[in-house]
Amino acid sequence: MTLRTRSPAGFAIALLLLAIGLAAATLHTRFGDLSGFWWQSIVAPDDDQIRQIVMHYTFVPRLLVALLGGAALALAGCLMQQVLRNPLASPATLGVTSGAQLALVVATLWAPSWMLAGREWIALAGGIVAMLLVLALSWKRRLAPMVVVLSGMVVSLYFSAINSALLLFHQESLSGLFIWGSGALAQDNWHDSRFLLLRLGIVVALALLLLRPLSLLDLEEDGARSLGISLRKLRFAGLGLGIFMTACVVSAIGLIGFIGLASPAIARLSGARTLSQRLGWSMILGALLLAVTDLAVQQLSPFTASLLPTGAMTAALGAPLLLWLLPRLRVGGSRPTPSTGLTMPRLARPHLRLWALAGLTIVACALALLVGFMLDSHTMHPSVAGIGDLSLIVDWRLPRVATAAAAGLMLAIAGTLLQRMTGNPMASPEVLGISAGVAIGVIALMLLPLGIAPLSGSVMGFSGATVALLVLIVCNRRSGFAPERLLLTGIAISSLLDAMRAIVLASEDPRAQQLLSWLGGSTYYASLTSSGWIVAIAILLLALTLPLQRWLTLLPLGAPTAKALGVDVDRSRLMLLALVALLTVAATLVIGPLSFVGLMAPHMARLMGFHGARHQLLGAGLLGMLVMVTADWLGRNLFFPYQLPAGLIAALIGGVYFMWGLRRL
């Protein structure tokens, strides 16, 4: 809280000076030849002087769009934070931006004519859907701030997974959408500036009308209600304005991350108290933040071969910002009882059910091996393979089925370990960002000019997972690993990966397609040898985990109890975390970072009544295999001969499960 002594003015002036400096530098480097004509170029360019035209239609509108877009997002964030009384709410953290973007992508692909009718309305529809989804997910928890943001970030990651699936099939025709979608602010006319200015003006005017009633929300709810305000209508209006503003920004300049979160937060931390102060300062700070980022990106772009999208850059900067903000904002984190879900009836004989589950998994594997598309003199049709197709089954289906099963098994075990260790029913390697850490390590390797080697890939992946675990521990030690804060940290790491993905995809590197396929978690490259290894590793790690059931039974009781019962808490946690890291790296390298299986399987196992540590491990492992094998089979056959990565399918299934689980968190 050291910032509290200052006023936002100091910070704003510093930003302003930075912006002016960067703008002057950009003017000199890009339009040095026009010096003396700068003013003329801005107000009335000579039609025959292309340089003046370029300055008139690129530099000035781009600066203006950055300022307006930043201010608009800050306004939207401020409104959302006020209405939800949640300092972490913002267009990005509530999933509104990605909802708007997905709606635009879908409309571009399947209803291009709608785009002409008005992009902002399509974006608005997408934003509203995302917002409703988030509200529905967090309704039961009375819109507790952390739960709302958690739901929002999950919705946002889910939408970006759907986006990836679409891009896999439409890379060439969506390449422009990549660049625009990741928030490249490049302008070529004044249309976007006018568009944003008009809408920002309208929304500001409406927000001013709502200012007094909205600021009464600072009072406790009962107080506000006793003043005769219809809270429901007020909230509806405030949120609606915020979503509309976001939709306008997304439809004009694409996905811009975190400005809407950062600027109100900075305004608040640096001393803006009343709502009107916060609104005013947030908009100023938001405008300057986006302008500075964009000018910095323009300064950098001559040094990078590819396009650096400003929006993805803000998202990449925003993830660490969120981590930094978390302990500094007084977020009313309500703690769910760790025993959620333990109310399910205990099974008298879990063995029987385990055997049944094992039988089901074997049947699923057999079907995944036998059923597929068969070639019959130049036509392909679904059918069951016979004895004659033995080599097809053994050589080309078995490795993929085995790899999927092994990855599912390992993720499920890792998820079970995490959930039992933290006493947090929503913990999993994917949700806690450990898988994302692996992926970030591998992408870093790919961007460095070394090529992809399996060994160095696993080394980098392991380092990534370790760093992610360290970040998780450092950021959460003080709060005693409060469940929601832990999850939010993990999701912030995952959204950093999402930003990196956007930057790589916008770079037009042809390897992007390969990366997309790996990030999606394709089993395509599995061979008999590699799948043999991965199965062996999975069995080995399972064998290492099973004897630890004493720790797993005692740790959920809490550190003091466990200690009293003779568990060396620190050592056991460290060993379990190392095991989690190993399991996650091995699984993520073959199935990609976003499958949600590690979350789903332990959860489902508990719902099915497997409560003892050993039974939950085995049950979750079997369920993980079942889900991944099914996802892989769907991916191979839904659009035959085109193949969807198994991890992506599992994420699309698992995301729904996660949202459903959130509702009951």
């Binding site: 070529d188 071969a305 070639l375 080599s391 050589d395 001969p641 085109y642």
Partner: protein, 308 residues
């Protein structure tokens, strides 16, 4: 069917069946030897060359996108679609493996594994340390050698040389430098320079490439469109198709409308051609450029005609 009671009998039966199967396979192999080899190709450049040499490919990758981006020569109806370019569907290929799979350097991460299914050759005209044209000739000859189409290949090469020579004659008077671009969105283009098909065309004909800046491994640079004003006297040649939404956005794009070339009507749009392709694409591009450069005064009259 009588029940087989003893294990040895069962074993014998199994061996008999297996033997029968393998003889059947050997027969099929013998049949295949007399037929032309069945080729699967993942790389569109190889696909266009195969079809140009008169080979009907057994299976190729991503036919819908080939039709949009490479366009010609057309893929025969009998050819199978084997999925995305970087992931040829192995379940499909395994059921009736082709005699040869041609992959490209970019998608060849697991050739060793594919070898177990069928012979695999990496055939590419990029990543070869050789200039584009030389590499493309070598690629064409190698494809011809593998498919027994050497005479057709030599004919294709001779034809290409003739097309290039004709283009050089037709373009002798053309002084206007050209930007050859493909839109990636409404504000950015890939402009083609040295080290690819476009570079070859410029050096073989008298044309001047207006883009002299650096290019990447595929011979293009991604630039904002305002840099197309750096040579105000140049003509802009746009290779279609546009990515989604670009055509509409260009109408509002003030930079585009104010580019000297656009204002003077020196913009041409040519049919889709694969700028990373082989000799057929090279010929098509050469013909398109001749059309564009020789017909410029008659066709382009006003800006409005040229802005889509």
């Amino acid at each position: 069917m009588p029940r087989v009671r003893s294990f040895p009998a069962l074993l014998a039966l199994a061996i008999a069946v297996l033997l029968g199967m393998s003889t059947a396979q050997a027969d099929a192999q013998a049949d295949a030897d007399s037929k032309p080899p069945r080729i699967a190709a993942a790389n569109w450049t190889v696909v266009e060359t195969l079809i140009a040499l008169g080979v009907e490919p057994y299976a190729v990758s991503d036919i819908p996108n080939y039709n949009a981006w490479v366009k010609a020569p057309a893929v025969p109806d009998s050819t199978l679609d084997m999925g995305l370019r970087n992931e040829p569907n192995l379940e499909l290929l395994a059921q009736d493996p082709p005699d040869l799979l041609m992959t490209s350097a970019l998608f060849s991460r697991d050739n060793a594994r594919l070898e177990r299914l069928m012979p695999v050759r990496m055939i590419d005209n990029f990543y070869t340390d050789r200039p584009y044209y030389e590499a493309t000739l070598a690629m064409t000859r190698e494809i011809a050698r593998l498919t027994g189409r050497q005479p057709q290949a030599e004919a294709l090469i001779a034809e290409t040389d003739a097309v290039l020579a004709h283009a050089a004659r037709a373009l002798r008077g053309a002084k206007t430098p050209l930007y050859l671009v493909q839109f990636s969105d409404a504000q950015h283009v890939r402009v083609f320079g040295q080290g690819n098909m476009v570079g070859t065309l410029f050096s073989r004909t008298g044309l001047t490439n207006a883009w002299a800046g650096p290019t990447n491994a595929w011979g293009y640079a991604s630039i904002p469109i305002d840099r197309l004003a750096e040579r105000p006297e140049a003509r802009i040649v746009v290779i279609k198709p546009y990515p989604r939404g670009v055509e509409e956005a260009l109408g509002n794009n003030q930079i585009w409308r104010h580019l000297p070339a656009v204002r003077a009507g020196r913009v041409s749009f040519i049919d889709p051609v694969w700028p990373y392709g082989g000799l057929v694409s090279l010929q098509r591009l050469a013909r398109s450029l001749v059309d564009v450069a020789t017909a410029d005064t008659s066709r382009a009259s006003s800006v409005e005609d040229q802005v889509p």
